[in-house]
Subunit: 208 residues, 2 copies
Amino acid sequence: MLRLYDYLDSGNGYKARLLLSKLGLAYELVELDILRGESRTPDFLAKNPNGRIPALALEDGTVIAESGAILYYLAEGTRYWPEDRLARAQVLHWMFFEQYSHEPFIAVLRFWYRHGPMDEKRRALEPEKRKGGEAALAVMERHLAGRSFFVGETLTIADIALYAYTHAAEDGGFELSRYPAIQAWLARVAADPGHVAMLPEGYVAEKA
Amino acid sequence: MLRLYDYLDSGNGYKARLLLSKLGLAYELVELDILRGESRTPDFLAKNPNGRIPALALEDGTVIAESGAILYYLAEGTRYWPEDRLARAQVLHWMFFEQYSHEPFIAVLRFWYRHGPMDEKRRALEPEKRKGGEAALAVMERHLAGRSFFVGETLTIADIALYAYTHAAEDGGFELSRYPAIQAWLARVAADPGHVAMLPEGYVAEKA
């Protein structure tokens, strides 16, 4: 059986969980408390030397790390990874955009707000993080105007990659009401078959 | 003809130039001075709303942005993108690693050192950037021990993606002599057919 090493409050991990759900694939969830260093143990570093979740272990023990690589691996041969070379490049465009221009701002602010500590150093960096996050949301808003999904007319792993932290952006102080095209798209993604929530009801984010 | 919007001192742009050279593809190079805001003009934002180089315009005017997406698009169907699903996922793993865990440290320090200004705010961030860069190099060193290339036995776009800023890491104050497996790999990549240098001889980095 597939095994997913994950931390429930991670949007990067949620990307994998969401696609696994859509594909109806059974998997064992191994929760690592990243706040307590459980992704930096010798045992886990042997699986992913970069010490980050999510990591997906295949039946034979091979481990795939990086949320984008996991999404690609699971989506290949399914409707979530397009047939066409240009469409695939566009899917990857948005997945790299998410990791470079979106996650480091929106996910990081969310993490600081939820898990802390919001110390002086982080407060000094907050305006720049806020600016980067708003810029990413503005790029998404502009792209989504008149479109149903990021690439083509159906949901792909580009949508899953961007949904994970965008739908939770208000946790980091972003106001999604300012982005109507994003809000409509979030609703479309959440209505797509096989959707699951990121967190169980009543989940409480612990402090670092 | 393909058209590449680029800035010569960008490692992200160099990735595209290196693969174009290996594939023997002719292209028109359109240099944008990113230090003077030329990637933020209305004209360029219509091509890439995220305002970043490199961007590759196809014959029909379609634009692909994000270095990783450009690499995939050009490599599909060639020996630089493996046939096997798992190998492809591993190639993407290293490409996402580069954009998330390597470039924001190694490329950013290089940029600050070369183009400035190295102001007080950046000096305060330097230790964290240094630590992140050294961590990325350590992960690479460990992976490359006993391997010729990042995935499989031949060069893929994972190697091109990681070569670009790693080979220039000393510009940002990193000592590559501490990483013998990386150094041997850099030499293998540079010896691979179709190699081109990042910069013309005598290039002088301008100040921001």
